[in-house]
């Protein structure tokens, strides 16, 4: 099923979410971030999926986050289900959700450095034995 895509900016994002809630979109089903590293300006795009159970409709909000502060208002007071998703987005991308009740790392360990799903975060390699074999001149 295709969902209607609404593009907005950080300032009017929360108002739009409140409007959707009043329009009868009962559920916020998904919140995720796309990192457009060196492809788009600004860099991070937050994508939120809404579902209306009563009218069987889907809507998607896409909003770009400003590069200088990476801050966007939290919607977990409107939709409590956003809580874990915003924590995940913070953990994986470092987006800061203001007024979130408990913005801590959720999947990575608390003392982890960096945000793994950013495009400039290396996926890491483990040396394979034959490649690390002693060199001939040693």
């Amino acid at each position: 099923m295709n969902s209607e895509i609404l593009r907005t900016n950080v300032e009017s994002y929360k108002k739009l979410v409140e409007l959707l809630k009043s329009e009868g979109f009962e559920m916020m089903v998904d919140l995720t971030v796309v990192d457009w590293f060196r492809k788009k300006e600004p860099r991070f795009e937050v994508i939120v999926q809404f579902l209306s159970v009563s009218s069987n409709e889907r809507k998607t909000i896409k909003v770009f986050v400003n590069d200088d502060d990476l801050t966007i208002p939290s919607i977990s007071d409107i939709y409590p289900s956003a809580n874990f998703y915003e924590r995940e987005a913070f953990d994986m991308f470092g987006i800061i959700f203001t007024d979130h009740p408990d913005l801590t790392r959720i999947l990575m360990p608390d003392d982890w450095q960096g945000h793994p799903l950013r495009k400039n975060y290396g996926s890491g390699r483990i040396p394979v034995q034959f490649k690390n074999a002693p060199r001939v001149d040693q």
Partner: protein, 454 residues
């Protein structure tokens, strides 16, 4: 002298060979150019938050409490009744849970990051390992999203095979939920029974896909292989045996006063709470709201099948147990229709860009070999765009969001796991209930930690 030249020649050779190595071992963070630099530029407070050193942990007892009975207890991550590695921080007053916070991430393996490095052809191998009790649903949702991005439609036989396999998978997943749920409450025979019946279905899966779990069977463009010879008799056997056994479960549990006493009026979730916390699937239907994506937003041709969506109004643990039993009957109805209406024809899309040639052709044709090699090494290109597709997994809405940049690998692959979202309702159903009931409540939500942590 001779030795030296030989050595330097060899050295040159080996340096070419190991292009990625540096003088002292491996530079693991060679592509990680921004993440550390970015931290230096931020203010001190943000560094603390970003590095996680400023942990906002409010889960401590109030200092002025005089109540000796209150304490913080960790349940898990290694605890048999938390269904995997779920950790619960619970504030107990005697034996009653007053506050609870689920702590997850112990099974986080970075599958979304891995998904960005595998091409669309390899993608199901990765997603199938997320929700390990219903792997075929994960493959299906990934394949459907990819197919939506390319804009193709799979043949009828592939659709029917997909429905047949996923509905059987729903039965096996619900059987595990019933089994482990029974085990947590002390009905150990239920555990044995559930796993015994699941074995029938897993044997059929093994025959069809080659594996009991993590099948990698449903792929973009169709399914990996046709159904094996004699599959009808296997499915007929499943259709014959499982309803009989379900009747046994009912005889054992439905009017059992201990079972009902343990489960009724425990862990109640109302419809509004389900909406607020994004709870979908059987838990929502047990709270009195009829919502099933198979009916409302059908996928893979499931609108052509005749089945009902069971709904219960109580919203307690008993209703969530009962609804899974009823759903097994409905899924078996769909399986029976798929068995009778299985169309003939190809089980993969006949598009040379997406489908590799059949194995037999490789032996006789050089072009087929090249074609096979190209698809398996490079994959196929997917047009730019993004798509979100949701299907009804045994735990609720399973969504997949893929952003494509036109290459053969997803630019971003995100899976909306139902367990992740359903887990947020855990504090609601556990608060102010005894620990023994809390255990029953966790089992009734049926979280799969592989799906939660991804």
């Amino acid at each position: 002298m001779k030795e030296d030249t030989r050595k330097s020649k060899l050295k040159f050779k080996f340096d070419l060979w190991a292009t990625n190595s540096e003088e002292n071992g491996w530079n693991i963070s060679s592509t990680d150019e921004g993440s550390q630099k970015m931290l230096e530029e931020e203010s001190e407070k943000q560094i603390k938050i970003q590095t996680g050193t400023d942990v906002i942990d409010d889960f401590i007892l109030e200092e002025d409490t005089t109540d000796d009975e209150r304490m913080i207890v960790n349940m898990g991550p290694q605890h048999p009744s938390t269904h995997g590695v779920l950790r619960l921080q619970a504030e107990l007053e005697g034996e009653v849970v007053r506050r609870v916070k689920p702590v997850i991430g112990y099974l986080h393996t970075g599958m979304e990051k891995t998904g960005e490095e595998l091409n669309y052809f390899q993608g199901p191998t990765n997603t199938t390992r997320m929700d390990y009790l219903s792997p075929l649903f994960n493959e299906l949702v990934f394949s459907l999203t990819t197919e939506k991005l390319i804009g193709i439609d799979v043949p009828d036989r592939a659709k029917t095979i997909r429905i047949l396999m996923t509905e059987l998978n729903r039965v096996s997943s619900h059987l595990v939920a019933l089994a482990t749920g029974g085990m947590d409450i002390g009905a150990l025979s239920m555990m044995i029974f559930g796993f015994r019946e699941r074995e029938l279905i897993l044997n059929f899966f093994e025959k069809t896909t080659g594996l009991r779990m993590n099948h990698n069977y449903i792929r973009p463009g169709g399914v990996a292989a046709d159904l094996p010879d004699g599959w009808q008799s296997d499915v007929e056997e499943i259709l014959k045996i499982i309803p009989e056994k379900l009747k046994d479960y009912d005889d054992m549990l439905l009017d059992n006063p201990i079972w009902r006493g343990r489960l009724e009026n425990i862990g109640i979730l109302t419809t509004e709470e389900c909406f607020a916390y994004g709870v979908t699937g059987p838990s929502l239907r047990a709270s009195g709201h009829s919502w099933d994506l198979r009916k409302s937003q059908p996928y893979s041709g499931i609108e052509n099948y005749d089945f009902d969506v069971p709904v219960l109004d109580e919203g307690d643990v008993f209703a969530r147990w009962r609804i899974k039993v009823l759903e097994i009957f409905e899924s078996l109805k769909i399986v029976e229709q798929a068995l009778n209406q299985m169309p003939k024809g190809p089980y993969k899309i006949q598009d040379k860009k997406i489908t590799p040639p059949p194995r037999k052709r490789i032996d006789e044709s050089m072009e087929a070999l090249i074609h096979h090699f190209k698809i398996y090494t490079e994959g196929f290109k997917v047009p730019e765009g993004d798509a979100y597709v949701a299907i009804e997994s045994p735990r609720g809405e399973l969504g997949c969001y893929i952003v494509s940049d036109g290459s053969s690998k997803p630019y971003r692959m995100h899976v909306r796991g139902p367990s992740f979202c359903n887990l947020q309702a855990l504090p609601v159903i556990m608060t102010d209930s005894p620990i023994a009931d809390a255990v029953a409540a966790i089992a009734s939500l049926d979280p799969v930690i592989g799906d939660v942590d991804r």
